[in-house]
């Protein structure tokens, strides 16, 4: 009697477990639409020249992008940047850097050398 009961429960479990598992995977026609992610503003496509700064939409977009860039700057951990050893960077072998057009870099290198000395931090 007891073994019959156990067999019946086993059979029911065999049917129910896969059925419940499959039903939990049932999804709508586009599951991506249900996975809402918190997106950051994509400010790269903003064309400032075409923006009318009297338009509240343009002003709102500017504010959003400025706030976002400000908060991302604040999140940068400047304290850890002190550990960067710029003296070792002088030994960089530019000849191994393929595709770099050094003729265009001549004028900028002096400026870059000045900005690398961390006085700006």
């Amino acid at each position: 009697m007891k073994t019959n009961f156990i067999k019946t429960v086993g059979k029911i479990a065999l049917i129910l477990v896969p059925a419940i598992t499959l039903s939990m995977n049932a999804s709508a026609h586009d599951p991506k639409m249900h996975a809402k992610k918190a997106e950051k503003a994509d400010c790269s496509k903003m064309d400032h020249s075409k923006m009318d700064m009297k338009d509240p939409v343009a002003v709102a977009m500017m504010k959003k992008c400025m706030k976002q860039s400000k908060s991302s700057m604040e999140k940068m951990d400047h304290s850890k940047m002190k550990e960067m050893d710029h003296s070792k960077m002088k030994g960089m072998d530019h000849s191994k850097m393929k595709g770099m057009d050094h003729s265009k870099m001549e004028k900028k290198e002096n400026k870059k050398a000045n900005s690398d000395d961390h006085q700006n931090h």
Binding site: A28, M33, E39, D42, M46, V59, A60, K64
Partner: protein, 174 residues
């Protein structure tokens, strides 16, 4: 006295007929089975008249502030866009499945709208705050302040003019 008796009998008959229709189960409440034209018209006219009357004394604030667009944009994206759509999204599970079908707020409805911008703004505020019975439109006023609801009204006002790129920036999180 005789007229009163007839009226009473008619009332009883009317009540009995209504109860028969109610409890027989012959009324199809499935959302994928549309109302007949006459029932749809009756419900729509009743709804519009009710909203118009209820919203008539609401004072509309200045809706041109960029801050309102930013506040309302984020709320619209998370509370409204799945039903009322957004630039670049022409349909969703909710917009297809709900009945009555929620209006697509990302396109201009100038041909259907009656009244001034101000009337429309106060009606939108009332609908967002109080919701609409048996339509799937919730009463956001139970959980959101008037300020946030006005921000959504301001955003909805500009929504049909937005490109998908503008919408993305205005509705993104900070």
């Amino acid at each position: 006295m005789k007229a009163l008796k007839i009226l009473l009998i008619l009332l009883l008959l009317g009540g009995a007929s209504a109860a028969t229709v109610m409890y027989s189960g012959i009324v199809n409440v499935a959302a994928d089975e549309p109302h007949s034209d006459i029932v749809y018209w009756l419900l729509e006219e009743t709804r519009e008249a009710s909203i118009k009357k209820s919203a008539q004394h609401i004072k509309v604030p200045d809706l041109e502030s960029p801050e309102l667009l930013l506040m309302g944009g984020a709320d619209y994206e998370y509370m409204c866009s799945s039903c009322h759509l957004k630039p670049g999204l022409e349909e969703s599970d909710m917009s297809i499945g709900l009945y009555p079908q929620p209006p697509n707020l990302s396109i201009s409805h100038e041909t259907h709208q009656h009244g001034t911008d101000e009337e429309l703004a106060r009606q939108n505020f009332w609908v967002i705050k109080h919701g609409i019975k048996a339509s799937g439109m919730p009463a956001w006023g139970k959980t959101h302040s008037d300020e946030r609801i006005w921000a959504m009204v301001a955003f909805i006002k500009r929504l049909p003019t937005l490109t998908p790129e503008q919408y993305q920036v205005l509705t993104a999180i900070d």
